[in-house]
Symmetry: C2
Subunit: 427 residues, 2 copies
């Protein structure tokens, strides 16, 4: 029984846990795979850091050399980012190794090229850890629902922003204050851009949409709005509607089935919606499909050990495939649906306007909505010496219709400003 | 590109939907599998029923002959029950066909023999639909968590009993009345034994425990208590504690890791627990593992289309494996942990006693609990002319200690009867 050799690229938050579990649970992994697996090398950036539990002789700063070794069966890439991860993975495939990655940024940017390289090499590319940490989501979508037609994927896939929004909701804090706390507690990185601007969630949305709809979707196809513009007033306004604000990733098939959209943006959802109760760093994703109906998956969306659990599940799978001389399902993009821009997306909107406190303003505003075919569900008006705020919640309308409405509103003399526009979901 | 031929055994609630989706979604299935799949025969019991959408010439009442055909690649067994399902599946393997089944009863009774036959034949045995309908659970446990150590699986896996308990909770109805309504609405079968006595849930618990703990577990290993003894008073008592009663399936690893238990019984859980909000025919299962932490899976636990979704996901997988000349993961029972009886299980209890309304009774009762090492959390006493009821909620204790306590209580003169004992979970 030959030993399978694993090269670990990256030994940070996730990699350290991968190495630890590979060592402490070696016997179980061997039994489940059908052969022992051995850590053959660990590539890092900084040579002289302590790496508890990892034999010094395994550590190298030359990742390129490690993946070029011809005795490596599986490469686990947990470095992150586009380069050198991309080149290292391509080299791994050239060497015939299979790859397990947690790298959502890379997969969302260039997944198809990687899949093609894997297929050409007869190797596997697995990446359960790239979306929603420990939560099995890629495999259920790619395999369990392979006989069904997925119509919608909707969820909270970024723990950092969820933590920040939670804080704003529970304390009334503004965005900056909540971000500061998240950073202090280690929930946000020093440079939080990828999280707070929605890049991380958009990458995950692209990966999910691609698998769910059997269509190539990249991060560039995903409409993206972060939460840096969400104000304490928005949160308060959501509260007044018995709603909360969450950063959602939404992948949808159009009603006629021919087009799909993927988007990431803050949205108000009713406090009674199951996603409203997803707290802190947890993630939860709903999947709606034709036959199965509505499924929900919930769990830790990040963290070293949870993410390592997903990586190791993939490791077992690709090792089994190696031993069997087979590969798992590769990219499935046969449906080639059109990925539509945001214009055609239909949803509800919460529009907050600063208006002159005069008779007839509401009628004027209502007329603009009507002229653009956007029907109003509720209006709340609050007077404040001379000017007032008007909160309009619409019925379902296209993004294009709403945008046109907002442009027209801005040109009204009595509208001093559009304080915020937020989508309303989950009803 | 050869066409894969599928024999469908059974065309009832589930089979009809399987056939329908195979027909209406043939092109998608072909694209995902990499080859067309064709319904080659449909075995039923009654010859002359209308089978809309299924060509007459495919229908046969001779299932045995159908599975003996040498051109069948995959057999889908959705007849249910032990025989003839078991023999038909074994014949299918002898013929080299792979099998997809939704048959929890059979898999829990004799899964190992079926797995062995599949392995001997180099064929696949998949059964995602056997547990929790459409919810991907077998695959996540067997594959996504293959690199992790599962410690606990806890969930609601039977929709019929969940519907009945829901009714009792919302209307105050007794068990018989709620069952009648469930039957009238089609949520319970004419003979509800398998559901209400917990056999169905116990079969699922056996399957889940086997996969989660890499150990052979059969239905006979599962402690089973149905809900026929649950009274309106129990439900009311749960309400008073801000709890609800649910029929839970619980599979646990002992603290030292060497033993496992599987059990199905009604239990009180706090109304704030996520499982408390699982309504009607929905199922939800928590999986706790060492690295991943706590995951939850939620969705429709039964029904023709949802169950067919799971069957078809398996169909795609076994067809892909066939084309690749490989097989998916088979039985994994290497851990061979001891499956312990109920005695050692540690949980909390809600004990309701009818006692004489005399001074000193509470002290007497409390002494009995203390003598058996069962520590009391709360006591509620309600007087009723001459006699009274005493509701004791304990801290965590073994089943053996609780049983001994109850025996001793029964022998007290002042204890007129033990009205009910129910486990308290989810805290
Ligand atoms: N952290 C999570 O909760 C989480 C969850 C899901 C997915 N992921 C994904 O997992 C991946 C890793 O995340 P992480 O949090 O573990 O990152 P991290 O803590 O920053 O670790 C990155 C590791 O990669 C090494 N590295 C950086 N550049 C390298 C290079 N050029 N050559 C070799 N090694 C290099 C670093 O070396 P040094 O140790 O010398 O700095 C470090 O060990 C990312 O793709 C991330 O998106 C993370
Ligand atoms: N229903 C659900 O929601 C659900 C959910 C999960 C799993 N399952 C499982 O799926 C399986 C099927 O359930 P179901 O609800 O579809 O059952 P069902 O509606 O009773 O259908 C059973 C089918 O098997 C046929 N059949 C019975 N005996 C046969 C025999 N000896 N030879 C050939 N065909 C025979 C019946 O023929 P006729 O049509 O002529 O009667 C019928 O078509 C069971 O194992 C069940 O536990 C069901």
């Amino acid at each position: 029984m030959r030993t399978l050799k694993v090269a670990l690229l990256g030994c940070g938050v996730v990699g350290t846990e991968v190495a630890r579990i590979m060592t402490t649970h070696a016997a179980d992994l061997a039994a489940r795979i059908g052969a022992p697996v051995e850590l053959a090398g660990v590539a890092v950036r900084r040579a002289n850091r302590p790496r508890p539990g990892i034999p010094d002789e395994l550590v190298t700063t030359d990742a390129a050399e490690l993946v070029k070794r011809d005795d490596i069966d599986v490469v686990i890439e947990v470095i992150g980012g586009i380069e050198p991860a991309r080149s290292l993975i391509l080299t791994a495939f050239e060497q015939g190794a299979s790859v397990v990655s947690a790298n959502k940024a890379l997969l969302a940017a260039d997944g198809s090229a990687l899949h093609a390289a894997a297929a050409a090499a007869g190797a596997d590319l697995y990446y359960e850890a790239a979306v929603a940490g420990a939560i099995p989501l890629i495999r259920p979508l790619r395999e369990s629902l392979a006989g069904d037609k997925v119509n919608r994927v909707l969820g909270i896939v970024n723990g950092t922003t969820n933590f920040i929004l939670d804080k704003m909701d529970s304390t009334g804090a503004g965005y900056s204050e909540a971000l500061e706390e998240a950073t202090a507690l280690g929930y946000a990185e020093a440079d939080p851009t990828a999280d707070v601007e929605g890049f991380d969630a958009a990458a995950k949305a692209a990966i999910l949409a691609g698998i769910a709809f059997h269509t190539r979707v990249t991060a560039a196809d995903v409409f993206r709005e972060g939460l840096t513009e969400v104000t304490a007033a928005d949160i308060a306004s959501a509260k007044a509607m018995n709603s909360v604000v969450k950063l959602l990733a939404i992948c949808e098939r159009s009603a006629d089935g021919s087009r799909v959209t993927a988007r990431v943006h803050p949205a108000m959802i009713p406090r009674t919606h199951p996603l409203a109760n997803v707290r802190g760093a947890y993630n939860a994703v709903f999947v709606e499909s034709e036959a199965a109906g509505q499924l929900m998956f919930y769990g830790p969306g990040a963290g070293g050990a949870p993410t390592a659990s997903a990586v190791l599940g993939d490791l077992v799978a690709v090792c089994r495939n190696k031993l069997a001389g087979s590969t798992g399902p590769g990219e499935s993009a046969y449906a080639q649906l059109t990925v539509s821009p945001m214009d055609g997306v239909v949803t509800r909107y919460h529009v907050s306007l600063d208006v002159a406190d005069k008779a007839g303003v509401l009628a004027q505003v209502a007329t603009v909505f009507a002229e653009h075919g956007v029907s109003i569900d509720t209006v709340r008006q609050q007077g404040r010496e001379g000017d007032a705020s008007l909160v309009v919640v619409t019925h379902r309308a296209t993004d294009a219709a709403l945008s046109a409405t907002v442009s027209a509103l801005r040109s009204l003399d009595n509208v001093r400003g559009v304080a915020s526009i937020m989508r309303v979901e989950g009803e």
